[in-house]
Amino acid sequence: MKRGIKHDFSLLALLLIPVGVSLNVVGYQLSTILKLPVFIDQIGTIMVSMIAGPWIGLLAGLLGNVVNGMLNPIAIGFSIVSVSVGLVSGYFSKWRFYTNIFGIIIACVLLTIVQAFSAAIVTVFLFGGVTGAGTDLITATFLATGRELWNSVVSTNLISGAVNTIINFGISWLIIRKVPDRFLIKLNYGAPYIKKEVNVNG
């Protein structure tokens, strides 16, 4: 079925954007309160992209970073990462990657790569290889072993990105499985996650 982008922006889908952004914020807070070793700050973007598609996912990612940027302008620089994650994850959902284990593995690998390269571009070109976070130590270690900057940053992002993607995606996926069918049916991208077998006439 061919549909324009406009079709993605129902009122229901629009209302998911603020929820997605807030979930990123809450996820981040919770991971700090529970003293978890990774920041679970992408669940909102991933969840929203899963059930409302690439464009809504993209916007949730973008807005999230702009909101963070009000307090920490560096986050604005990294918008491109969230935007890519939201967009790509939304397309995987559209292509029904998330309904079987192979699709999920492929999606996670590709998401990791997308995240790593987009993050590396920002890190290297805007911030000279630095993010101001703990992962800089990994990059520093790579540099110390004589690797080039670009190579080091990409490697760091592939490692930390893989962990982040798997955890953020895993939690999002687990929770989306728990969303009632009644709600999924109202969303353009909800169909793959509906558990009940019914023919949907709309």
Partner: protein, 270 residues
């Protein structure tokens, strides 16, 4: 000492707002009570002090002789179950069965034992037919029973219900009544916050009135609902039958049956 006891407890929130002032309350096992009072009277703060969601800024709360200052909320929750006002704050599973069973998971029970416990809790909450449904397929009022069942399944000695009657139809309110007497028969204590005065009259022998951060009175429904001074001060109203009795000129009446009995031979109203 009583099983649950608040000793000279005061509580102020971090922003300085004092919500509970010098409160003393005691509950023995098997002794249920209703807590009534206007919004802002301190009802929810008082019960949150009981299961250590809040720690008193002054005074102490004891559960089974253990001060809540020396325990974690998770430990206290084994003795005191607290059903929040809004069920949506607790529900996160995709079937009612899993939701009720969640609290039991840590107890390392055999699956048959677990199943029995879940089903027993579901039965008394009227959920037995819908155990495989998604919690959100039930309306808000019924979702409340899911969280009640989840707490019942863990078998605490004290159960706190925060406004269980809100938005319930007649059948559900009757079910709540049965549930409370069932628990009392098992020597459990049920503490219920409610705005439904008819419910209080029917189901409780002890009523605690809170107003303006303080305990105003702790007595039987009859004493409370005919203490007009107290009701006025606490911004509460008599149940409808008390109002009717009052209009007809009878004092101290609490139920329709009593009223019928009293005016058997009178013909005040034609």
């Amino acid at each position: 000492m009583s099983y649950l006891s608040l000793k000279n407890v005061s509580y102020s929130y971090a922003n300085g707002y004092e919500a509970v002032q010098n409160m003393n309350l005691d509950f023995d096992l098997g002794e249920s009570a209703a807590i009534i009072g206007q919004n802002g009277a301190g009802k929810t703060t008082a019960v949150k002090l009981m299961n250590r969601l809040l720690i008193p800024t002054e005074g102490e709360v004891f559960v089974n002789n253990l001060s809540t200052k020396k325990a974690t909320t998770a430990e206290i929750s084994k003795m005191i179950g607290y059903v929040f006002q809004n069920p949506d704050d607790q529900i996160f599973q995709d079937t009612i069965y899993k939701e009720i069973a969640y609290g039991l998971k840590n107890q390392k029970l055999e699956s048959a034992v677990m199943k029995n416990k879940v089903e027993a809790a579901a039965e008394i909450c009227g959920l037995k037919e819908s155990l495989n449904e998604h919690p959100y397929n039930l309306p808000y009022s019924k979702r409340k029973f899911i969280t009640i069942a989840a707490v019942l399944a863990t078998d605490p000695n004290v159960i706190i219900l925060d406004e269980p009657t809100a938005g319930q139809d007649r059948e559900s309110i009757e079910r709540l009544g049965k549930l409370i007497s069932h628990l009392a028969n098992q020597n459990k204590t049920v503490i219920t916050i409610t705005h439904d005065m008819e419910f209080v009259v029917r189901e409780f022998k002890r009523v605690i009135v809170l107003a303006n951060k303080q305990k105003r009175r702790d007595a039987s429904p009859r004493e409370i609902f005919w203490d007009k001074e107290l009701l006025k001060l606490s911004d509460l109203k008599q149940p409808f039958i008390c109002q009717l009795a009052d209009t007809l000129g009878y004092k101290g009446i609490l139920t329709i049956e009593e009223l019928l009995e009293r005016d058997k031979n009178e013909t005040y109203y034609n």
